[in-house]
Symmetry: C2
């Protein structure tokens, strides 16, 4: 039975709201295994929609899927110096298999660069084999001390793209292309605007030349790193001897990229659009875009109402709408409304005896506003219009909220006050020194999310470092982050 106690409000306790929303909507649950979550059907359905959209975008940009082993020999991880330093402390290690102790322990993949580039060394001989554009959908494990459902769990699901190119320029182009794919997905499907740009060295992927990121601002004004794309240069191809014969007959190391997004995006979706009634899911990613709730008292009403409701359902299905008719007995319409609101279904159609008689249905939008009576005639195009509009409105609302919580050209004092008051995105000059970055983090918990791409930069560019006053070498976007 549905829990009918109201959720803790976002204003009262954002973190409690987040956890209660997930429990109420049955998106995920804690498992008996430390740090590992169970993704329940309602949560997994959102991930499936995300996968489907992203997978098509990967294929449209020339990538193919493959699958590499879960286990990585411990020695592989050590071949790239930064990589092992970054990942070894958080690995899960298999020491026994088939009842015997293993000669070499196996690491459960925290990411797959090492095992994948070991295979690429075998597959790539000539420039004709390049570019090699492969993606993998997989589970990975990183031993986390503090976990949160979807956002940070010991095991999570993700995709990791791994590509090999003949030139540095092609690798850089691919790195940027896939960052663009992520941004488009987050904009168009998640209705979640992001700031893109480059990470500073302290936030760079362990083993990469350059890391680019999509950063979104959650409703509690903390940033969430939503997707990253790495130009790996020749770091891994040197470590794993991935060489190829160039068109000129010389031998060179390939240039690699890797890029990934994870089930963390479900958490991002919740914290971008959710309200005090529960999840709000953008129509393009909703398991059910429309739910139909029949309303009746007597048996004769029941027959007529269910018949009409099912007719509407069939019409919508035929048009490609993901629709569910909630014909559960013994549950009041109000309880159903409450449940579907908590689960974030974009549109609800209510059908009662008077509606059937009038050839009408009542529309309620998850994003609020007055209920509206619509003629059954022409319902299909109307539902598409409503979904289009909601998708656009959600993106606009999220963008407006982010902009209302972003400041530019902050001084040090303004920065401190802003972070103290709750934070948001702060665009400010940066001298480029690790010291400044470290001091800010220590004093305010804020970090540089990205050195933003040109379109996000302030004009004119800030002249001095917000923190130390020395000349600025790049504008930075600062925020506290998940």
């Amino acid at each position: 039975m549905a829990d009918t106690k109201a959720l803790t409000t976002r204003a009262a306790d954002f973190s409690a709201w987040y956890n209660e929303l997930i429990a109420r909507a049955e998106l995920a649950d804690y498992s008996p295994v430390r740090g590992c979550m169970v993704i329940r059907p309602n949560g997994y359905a959102i991930w499936e929609q995300m996968q489907r959209a992203l997978d098509q975008m990967f294929k449209d940009t020339g990538h193919q899927n493959a699958y590499f082993p879960l286990f990585i020999p411990q020695s592989f991880l050590s071949r790239e110096a930064e990589h092992v330093e970054g990942f070894a402390p958080e690995t899960a290690v298999v020491t026994h298999g088939g009842g015997k102790e293993l000669e070499e322990p196996l690491v459960v993949r925290p990411t797959s660069e090492t095992i994948i580039y070991a295979m690429y060394a075998k597959w790539i001989q000539s420039y004709r084999d390049l570019p090699l554009l492969i993606n993998q959908w997989a589970n990975v494990v990183r031993w986390e001390l503090r976990t949160r459902l979807f956002l940070r769990t010991t095991e999570f699901l993700w995709q990791e793209g791994h590509t090999a190119h003949a030139t540095e320029a092609e690798a850089e182009e691919e790195t940027r292309r896939m960052l663009g794919v992520y941004r488009t997905f987050m904009d168009q499907w998640m209705a979640m605007p992001v700031v893109t740009g480059r990470k500073t060295d302290s936030e760079r992927f362990a083993g990469a030349l350059r890391t680019y990121s999509c950063e979104a601002l959650m409703q509690d004004n903390k940033a969430l790193q939503a997707g990253t794309s790495h130009n790996l240069g020749q770091n891994f191809s040197r470590a794993f001897e991935v060489t190829f014969q160039t068109a000129n007959g010389e031998l060179d190391h390939v240039w690699n990229t890797s890029w990934g997004v994870s089930t963390r995006l479900v958490g991002a979706l919740i914290m971008t659009h959710g309200d005090d009634a529960g999840l709000v899911c953008p129509p393009r990613l909703a398991q059910y875009q429309v739910v139909i709730v029949p309303i009746y008292r007597t048996d004769s009403e029941r027959g007529a109402v269910l018949e009409a409701a099912d007719r509407v359902r069939k019409e919508l299905v035929a048009a490609g709408v993901r629709v569910h008719l909630d014909a559960r007995e013994g549950m009041k319409p109000g309880a159903k409304y409450y449940e579907w609101e908590g689960r974030g279904v974009p549109l609800r159609l209510e059908i009662g005896p008077r509606d059937v008689a009038a050839g009408a249905v009542v529309l309620a939008r998850r994003t609020g506003g007055k209920k509206e009576t619509l003629p059954m005639e022409g319902l299909v195009p109307r539902m598409f219009q409503e979904m289009e509009r909601m998708q656009t409105d959600l993106l606009e609302a999220a963008r407006a909220r982010r902009e209302a919580n972003s400041i530019r050209g902050a001084t040090k004092q303004l920065f401190l006050d802003y972070m103290e008051a709750g934070g948001g995105f702060v665009y400010a000059g940066f001298c480029g020194s690790n010291d400044c970055e470290a001091q800010v983090k220590e004093q305010t918990k804020a970090t540089i999310r990205v050195l933003p791409d040109e379109e996000f930069r302030s004009v004119p560019a800030p002249a001095t470092c917000m923190w130390c006053g020395r000349p600025s070498v790049a504008e930075a976007v600062w925020a506290k982050a998940y």
Copy 2:
């Protein structure tokens, strides 16, 4: 570059043929991790098509996807006595996480009954929560000593359905329903006929009441268990205290089923349809259903031919055909034919200058026969007809081969001779004793694949046990197996 040495023939060495075919078609590769394979893009594409078809069939029968943890506390495995006996010896065990030794070792899931039913205990309270119909797509690990690509690997990909029901009858119905789904998939998509039936106790899933199986006969006359569906009774619900309040207000344990198929099916596909030229992929599961090879010598021919080829490609794409135009430069048409044959593409269209002039294309079928010149006009419906026919023909050919390699009513001597001569399916009377089963296995390596469902049984039923001569209690299908 493509390897141009001919494959070892099936007749000469079936096992070498199988391995060479996989390497040549780039379906999979050995990894540096013991017993783990890499599924390469060409192989993964087949698995993706399989997943897509099965997933839709699962959803059409009311199931939802979810995701449960990779790791299982070692103690969980022990709660069901048969289950731990069956699986504990072949597990991989994580003893260290985040740099520390774990208090309780974690088993990498060999199958997920235990962790899933532990969650069901939390989610199920009332008969209103039933049936609970969940499927998971996941990787699992079973420490195998002797491995073969796709057929038996330490890690493999699969789906595992796990359902909970209020009554024993409903659980049995679900177990049979999903066996039927598998059979339909294998028939209609894989063009692989199967015999269905019940497993004897010695081949039953560890922890199940009853196991049902789909058994296919490979070209080397060994059987392959292609999919299983288990009625788990209340074994796991008792072990994990999964109880519910019945409509009468009493407390009862739920009735469970589980069912699964794996990447092993790709191996089954290869060994069902492959020929000495390589893979033969049924059209419904092919990554590319049609490949177009342009033929030209001069630059002016090149322009006209590629233009026509691309026009054909676009028409086929628009109609929903999975088509690839192989426009690689510097590679002769013959080399392309050879490569695509090895990869099993059902239909090849060759287009040269004379074809362009005549508004025609040349069709070659992967299953052989004369090439045929077709008008470009009406090509789309023709391709669908060709695919339909090939799909049907492959199923019929596989069924005819299986029937030609099945015998009924065998005596002991005939059985011995038949197994000695290579084997196949032997339908014979069985007394039901473990002793007979064990003796046959010891002497001939053949096992009872299933006690077949009614439609497969001999009429009249065999009266005596093929081995001991005592009265038969059930007909059995015997074979050597993978």
